[in-house]
Subunit: 326 residues, 2 copies
Amino acid sequence: MTHKELLAHYREQVEGALEQSQNAYPGHGLYEPCRYLMSIGGKRLRPSMVLAAAGAFGADPAKALHAAVAVETFHNFTLMHDDIMDKAPLRRGMPTVHEKWNDNTAILSGDAMFVQAYDALAKSDTASLPALLRLFNQTAREVCEGQQLDMEFEQRNDVSIDEYLEMIRLKTSVLLAAALQMGAIIAGAEEAQQKAVYDYGIHVGLAFQLQDDYLDAFGDPETFGKQVGGDILADKKTFLYLSALQFSDHGQRKALDGWLGQAHDPIAKVDAVRSIFLATGADNALKEELSHHYRAALTNLEQLNVVDDSRGLFRYLAQLVGERAV
Amino acid sequence: MTHKELLAHYREQVEGALEQSQNAYPGHGLYEPCRYLMSIGGKRLRPSMVLAAAGAFGADPAKALHAAVAVETFHNFTLMHDDIMDKAPLRRGMPTVHEKWNDNTAILSGDAMFVQAYDALAKSDTASLPALLRLFNQTAREVCEGQQLDMEFEQRNDVSIDEYLEMIRLKTSVLLAAALQMGAIIAGAEEAQQKAVYDYGIHVGLAFQLQDDYLDAFGDPETFGKQVGGDILADKKTFLYLSALQFSDHGQRKALDGWLGQAHDPIAKVDAVRSIFLATGADNALKEELSHHYRAALTNLEQLNVVDDSRGLFRYLAQLVGERAV
């Protein structure tokens, strides 16, 4: 099996387990929005990584399916609540839960979905449950902290690049890292190995998010999947934006400031801000940061005592962000 | 020590543990609203019952402190989110979190508080953790289901008394019952004993809520703690209201319907609706239902193999609602 096929195989197993998990709850009322959000897709990368890590450390990946369901269900819970906070109308091209129903439903069904995640986790082997629960709690807390920082940054004009990286570490990387470590825990891997695979996940996660920042500004509209320039139009303080600010001369900074809050000519705004990203070298700064995390991920990978095939899978995953797309 | 003193002693232990638990998180940002809500009080009855049940089944109550913190933290999380959904301006006489901050903060800090509850639970003995987690998850799910029913009932005109009782069982009783069973689990009580103390908690919880319904209409404004007539003014479909509807003649039903949605003369409305409650015998129907649950709670109590003092404490608690106040 190629790495791509193996990932597809894990994903298929995950989809089956997610469906089975959702079917254990009534299809109406409180649980209908959970089933809806879960059914509209997603790449299922995080839960697939739970299986991949379990397999890499020598366990039957099927043993990790409950933990995988927990991770993906938790992720969807955060989407349901984040979309309320961000007043987002669409998610994966479909109406968000608070749009299709209302805010109260999205709050309460989100809470129920959070419990569903713990429900799935509780089905794990008794032996690994305490460690899984501790890691899951820590991760859930950090994801909330990341969303909190993200919201705070919207109100601040002095966000540093380090603060931004810490925010995306919390908001997006820790869950991928935890997914990998959970697989390692289930396979009974040593703590040092757990840490190495966790750190690999952090760096891959950061690289993914940086890649997303890049593609939002410079991606191919045909393949990006989201509106190119969306971050620019939303005045998001991304890595590109913060780097551009840092490297800008007086005129560039004035131009950047001038576009803030402007909405009357979106095409001109995206074009102009993108030009400043290039002129200030923000794009290169991003590529360097991304490359740093790609290399750090590969270094973590070297520390793993896993079956060789698995290292290849993890390397393939890192390469998806490290080499191809940016 | 009298039962009252013992309860006060448990409460003091709980207060200390709650403070310690909150102090383990940063005092600003995401966690400040959690600390705020936790600090504005509450009777801490549920967490005290975790300690009481652990002691009753022969364990050191201190062993149950983490589970007690989990129960009270979860309870406060539900208050934070329920207050958003109910647009409640005040909680325990103080501004609610979404009023003092905003909706997004109350959503996200509520989520963080939910994780804090699981954080506390995860500190329990490894031996009892799987059973505690399963019960806690089930309870959390049911509490969400209860809130969902409560919101649905606001939109419906055909709520039956049985449906109402099921709603308050989910929304308020299961957490008290689970608190008691968690203490029993920690003490290693047999499953039949766990079930008996859980059922005792269900009946006491229902009796408490029915007493609350009664006092809302007929309580002494000096001692009730909330605005007397609050449920009537909010057109709440309480046990009294649903019973009055069921037992009303044509004129009484017309009068009840006429007051729905009326807000121009609150004093007249409360007086008139209260009179209909009395005229239809809704007050007696409530007293009978309450008495049924009081007696059922005492029957469950007889099945418990606990130290005699503890049975006395549980009886004292049931009597608080069963005999004195209504």
